[in-house]
């Protein structure tokens, strides 16, 4: 039927499965994020650490090329655990900035425009909605974090041979578990803030505040109490210690790693509670 005929009719075609409906939210949110050329350019830049890592691993195993430029395989200190730890940091940091840029508009815009009633008036519920929005961050952050990290790890294991991958399984595990944990924590936190703070700059400021100002506050508590108890509210310290413990490297402070996991878990629970409180089709005044 020609669309201009102004006739309305029922839809009798096939329907997509209910479980895939959150993916619709993800698809449209991703399209909106990449509609900004500046963001697209920034995102490509975020892939740079992974690209450099791949290049360095390749270079380290290209003996002839190294000889031509007068270098040895250990030209940058070698592909030790420290190299991979350093690379991890340079993947996690851009990921945080991507989350800070994208997340404030994910939920805040829907709440500002009362669009939640349109989403939730359809056969999806609040959990589907959050999963759809969270998947946006997961899909954006994965290539620049754990996917890139595992790519480098697998490349190194392949080029090195001799069971290097099995001997250094902690590196691969740290990349996967560490980055996934970071993505989950930062996604839930940024979505919760997006639900509560509708003004984008304020939402971004709140995220920086929680991550960096809270870290400074935690340091002050540590200094005053002469303990590491302040680290309980220090998200960056918690994720650092968790990742380093998986790497098998040194951690900061005296808190057991279990308490660092607790900090991350508590952040997730608090974020879910905030989302539960705020994500309603309509405000309920009791």
């Amino acid at each position: 039927m020609a669309v201009y005929e102004r006739i309305w009719r029922r839809y009798d075609g096939s329907l997509t499965p209910l479980r895939w409906r959150p993916a619709v939210i993800t698809k449209y949110a991703l399209a909106e994020a990449f509609s900004s050329r500046i963001f697209a350019a920034f995102y490509v830049l975020c892939l740079l650490p992974t690209a450099i890592g791949v290049f360095l691993v390749y270079l380290s195993h290209n003996v002839s090329l190294l000889q031509q430029v007068g270098l040895t395989k250990e030209f940058m200190g070698g592909l030790t655990a420290v190299f991979f730890q350093f690379l991890f940091l340079w993947q996690a940091l851009p990921a945080f900035f991507v989350a800070v840029i994208v997340s404030p508009s994910l939920i805040a815009a829907d709440i500002s425009n009362n669009a939640l009633s349109l989403y939730l008036g359809r056969p999806i519920d609040r959990r589907d909605y959050v999963l759809g929005k969270m998947a946006v961050l997961f899909l954006l952050l994965s290539p620049i974090t754990w996917m890139g990290g595992l790519l480098i790890f697998i490349l190194q294991a392949y080029l090195e041979g001799n069971g290097w991958g099995f001997e250094n399984w902690r590196i691969g595990t740290a990349y996967f578990v560490g980055h996934i944990t970071w993505i989950v924590v930062i996604s839930l936190l940024t979505l919760a803030i997006s639900a509560w703070v509708r003004f984008k700059p304020a939402a971004r400021g709140a995220l920086f505040g929680i991550i960096f100002i809270l870290a400074g506050f935690a340091q002050a508590i540590n200094a005053v109490t002469n303990t590491s108890v302040g680290d309980l509210i220090n998200l960056t310290r918690a994720i650092y210690n968790v990742v380093m413990s998986i790497f098998g490297g040194p951690t900061h402070g005296d808190l057991p790693i279990a308490l660092n996991w607790f900090t991350l878990a508590a952040t997730c629970v608090l974020s879910i509670w905030m989302l539960h409180r705020k994500l309603r089709a309509h405000e309920v005044v009791s």
Partner: protein
């Protein structure tokens, strides 16, 4: 387990439905059943019309009782019910940063339409509501009337079996209001979708709806079947006589009229469909009774509504 859709089930069944928000009872033990093509929810502001719609959509959980939509239980089959519904909320609700076609397509996909079908239906829906030329404009730039229309488009894009329209003519100027009512009437007449129309505008409800539920302070004040009344084609006549006359009362009763005496010399008559007012004039003439005033009218929705709104003190 999901039950198959019962095509013979009433559109809406309310079974002691009670909704409390905080300590306030918003809907109080609603009991009703509706099967009409278009059901009107009438009531003054705060009567509970919007809360009833939102409860049917699962936004508010019932505190007691329950409801069925097309035979599906609200408590256990919320998603299946919402899959059958197109909802147009009362307040502004849209995504301002995307174009109308993008917005309506997104809503169609969320309702389960595959991407290509969603795009085609989005074009159709926007043309149908008269936004064909504006479909590539961002929704945030639309006027109030256009936003109402795009809300209607997103509600019907997936061809729902039940359209829930909450105050669809809010903020519209008279031509736009007429167009909205014409569209809703057109959808009703096609018969593929049932409609629940919530409004405090009696004219809108009377034009569109077959059945009406009148709410007052969260309770059912009245309900009526307008379509049955129309079919019965009953006429109401108010007659003022110059002097009370029992003979005239008996004579019009013999003509088949139902007679109610409002006060001495003032009658309200329900006339059979085949009787004209000329017969009343003739009868009065034969009996030598003077008629001061004869007012022919239907028992309009306004009468029903005003009666329903009267409390013990006669106030609204």
């Amino acid at each position: 387990m999901t039950q198959p859709l019962n095509h013979d089930a009433p559109v809406l069944e309310l079974d002691g439905l009670t909704v409390k928000l905080g300590r306030r009872t918003i809907l109080d033990q609603l009991e009703a059943s509706f099967s009409g093509r278009a059901i009107g929810l009438l009531g003054p502001n705060g009567a509970g019309k919007t809360t009833l719609l939102r409860t049917l959509l699962g936004f508010y959980p019932p505190s007691a009782g329950g409801a069925k939509v097309f035979g599906r239980e609200l408590a256990t089959e919320g998603k299946q019910i919402r899959a059958e519904i197109g909802y147009m909320p009362e307040s502004d609700a849209y995504i301002s940063s995307i174009t109308a076609i993008h917005f309506v397509r997104l809503m169609a996909e969320l309702s389960g339409l595959p991407s290509e079908a969603a795009l085609e239906r989005a074009h159709e829906a926007l043309f149908y509501v008269g936004l064909g030329e504006a479909r590539y404009r961002k929704v945030g730039t639309f006027s109030t009337g256009m936003k109402q229309m795009v809300k209607l488009a997103q509600a019907l894009v997936h061809g729902p079996r039940l359209l829930m329209l909450d105050e669809p003519t809010n903020g519209l100027d008279p031509p736009a209001r007429k167009r909205m009512i014409d569209l809703v009437s057109d959808i009703r007449d096609r018969g593929t979708s049932r409609i629940i129309l919530s409004s405090h505008l009696l004219g809108d409800v009377e034009t569109v709806c077959d059945e009406v539920l009148i709410l007052k302070r969260g309770a059912i004040a009245d309900s009526c079947d307008l379509e049955a009344d129309r079919r019965a084609n009953k006429s109401f006549v108010e007659v003022d006589l110059e002097a009370p006359s029992d003979e005239f009362d008996r004579a019009v009763g013999a003509l088949g009229c139902e007679v109610a005496s409002l006060e001495p010399g003032r009658l309200k008559l329900v006339m059979p469909a085949d009787l004209s007012t000329r017969a009343l004039w003739t009868t009065a003439d034969e009996l030598g009774v003077g008629i001061r005033r004869l007012d022919l009218k239907r028992d309009s929705l306004q009468d029903i509504f005003m009666r329903a709104m009267e409390d013990n003190h006669g106030g609204v």
